[in-house]
Symmetry: C2
Subunit: 365 residues, 2 copies
DNA sequence: CCACGAAATGAGAACGTGCTCATTTGAAAA
DNA sequence: TTTTCAAATGAGCACGTTCTCATTTCGTGG
């Protein structure tokens, strides 16, 4: 239309006061106003209207103004579904966790990780689906594929079938806190091995010589890695590894309490002066059992937890804990996932440094 | 095609061994196999193929078998985006939280609520977007509208503009743990007023007469409601409300500890024998301050928390706490939201009963 | 005043599914 | 064999965008 620039704005301004126009707006608002409605109202083609939103610099300022005013007045909101239909990008990510780690969100490790994943994703313009399933197999994971997520973070060891499924569709995947022996999936992990070493070193330097270990019933990968580190660290400092000073418990306070009592009973007069727990929850339970047995923390027995979660501050004294970098882990996972989505080359896996947050349960103020 | 029933299966079986067929599958797998590909391979129309998935009973068993086999072989996966395009249903919900409650996921109240929301939604076949934004205004909320979620749960007091936005699109909304004075939005709440009464009653029945209150700096609605309940409850039991026995703190252990110390200092010899905290985190801090001041819990001072979160078990002694029904709250929110989505009539708001979980911080074993 | 070229706009095809309506099929009844 | 009718299948539009390519507009210089 060759008269747009002249009558376009006039027409629109007059329609603005027009009853018909308002009726149109009103009816459309409830029904969902589309790019076509704006086109009809302004008299431009839908192509031009679409351009006004996607590539404003390709549209004359005058028409841009008209279209934007109309869009604002009518309450236009772009339909991300229709856009995804042709761009093949939904702008959605999936955070999938299942199995023993559940509950997810209240989990002292995965909770903060998820939090940082959501924040990092939002900063990059992505929305996050969260999928949790204790006995998940394919269904929960494949529904995310049906929903066409741009990428997925697995916060658990996914079974190979699942990974194959994702690989066959070409959807980028990042493993979080786990590695895949069979497939070449990029993973973000923390230096668990080094973390345990740090803790043992710290306790040794405080003069502790009689160690106990309370393991959590996590995924095998994590458990084996940490246990091996513990054994190696003891050996490095010339200490003997004693099976009777080890307990494997469910990560609950009551279970850990029982585990600690078992160790105290078994050890008799040689009760440990250092206890390493593979989780802050377990550490909280251990502290309770120790205090109930009349042992002072840290004077008689020092306790170290894992995750450096908020639980540490609830403990009295506060809990020394290994910080596996929950927040950074989430951020890195999102960063890597985005790079995979953007088809960057040479995306490398990440292994985060670990630090020890020293507090009252090992060093008294 | 009138020969389908006869040659259809034969044809398919032969194609199954056909190189061309495999090539087709291979190429398509990476590209995304659609309903049209299955139609081409099997010789049926896309309408029939679509029916085979959506309404299997309308399709002859023989053709059903052919189509399903082809779909399995080719790795067909329905495209939820395309489906949403015409059904106007995405099967997605949004869980939105912002403002003072952040961080969301590690929050001892909202964490478990979110967990139950995700689980309840998944059981009903919905996926959940989680949106968190400390200083959120419209953007984060409106992006969920663009993504065409079927419904939204607001776990914070949304500003009226946001509610208007949602109302104008007709997207169902449920408020969680909040109510809207201005708009007629359905909400799921807990009987906070009754909860505080329960706690005061419990402490009074234990012979406590000198009460202290540590408030958390939450949203005004919650804070005012609970404080009024506290004042009313004291009056009911003939106790005086003393401003000097009240502190308002940020919900962090250290802040709460300081708050408790302030109260102890101000009260001098009349230190309280009962402390009510509006959050388990605050209670944990209060316990620390009390224990540091040499007061035994519960003998000298009884402590009650709020939320009955996992924090209670980390405390020593375990923390008596008001249980606002986090899990049920999430479930109810999802149930109501689904009813709204299904356009059921007479959907009523819910106010959940509250109970007191009595543990070691008020009653010694 | 005309020609030229860049800028602005329009027409229409895709994307993958569901739905409606018309057409064909096949088996039982006549 | 023919008729009948429900069951099975096919053709084609719709959803709301983006994208490509053709067409029109407009300013500029000859």
């Amino acid at each position: 239309m060759f008269l747009h620039s002249i009558i376009g704005s006039l027409l629109f301004l007059r329609w603005n006061e027009n009853v018909l126009f308002y009726n149109y707006c009103f009816l459309k608002r409830l029904y969902g106003v589309t790019i076509l409605d704006i086109a009809k109202i302004t008299g431009f083609s839908k192509a031009t209207v679409a351009r006004a939103f996607a590539n404003p610099e390709q549209v004359r300022p005058a028409t841009l103004e008209i279209i934007r005013t109309a869009a604002r007045t009518m309450g236009y909101r772009p339909n991300a579904i229709a856009r995804a239909m042709i761009t093949k990008r939904t702008g959605n990510l999936a955070f999938i966790i299942y199995g023993k780690q559940a509950p997810v969100i209240t989990n002292p490790f995965y909770g903060p990780v998820l939090e940082s994943v959501v924040n990092a994703a939002q900063r990059k313009g992505y929305s996050v689906f969260i999928v949790s399933d204790e006995e998940m197999r394919l269904p929960s994971g494949s529904i995310m594929l049906e929903k066409q997520v741009d990428g997925t973070i697995f916060a658990s060891q996914p079974d190979p079938e699942m990974l194959n499924l994702y690989k066959s569709t070409g959807t980028p995947v990042v493993l979080l806190n786990h590695v895949s022996e069979t497939d070449d999936v990029i993973s973000v992990t923390a230096d668990d091995y080094g973390g345990v070493f740090l803790a043992v070193e710290h306790l040794y330097s405080l003069g502790r010589r009689s160690f106990a270990l309370i393991e959590g019933n996590f995924t095998e990968y994590i458990r084996n890695l940490r246990k091996q580190a513990y054994i190696d660290a003891l050996k490095k400092f010339g200490l003997v590894y004693d099976e009777r000073m080890v307990e494997l418990v469910e990560p609950h306070v009551a279970d850990a309490e029982l585990g600690m009592r078992n160790i105290l009973e078994r050890s008799g007069n040689n009760s440990p002066d250092a206890v390493l727990c593979m989780n802050d929850i377990i550490a909280a339970g251990a502290m309770k059992a120790l205090q109930a047995a009349g042992r002072r923390i840290p004077q008689d027995t020092a306790v170290v937890g894992y995750d450096d979660s908020s639980i540490c501050t609830y403990c009295n004294p506060e809990l020394t804990s290994i910080d596996g970098g929950k927040e950074r882990m989430g951020e890195e996972a999102v960063r890597i996932l985005c790079e995979l989505i953007e088809k960057k080359e040479n995306v490398e896996p990440v292994c985060l440094d670990v630090r020890l947050s020293i507090k009252g349960s090992t060093v008294s103020k």
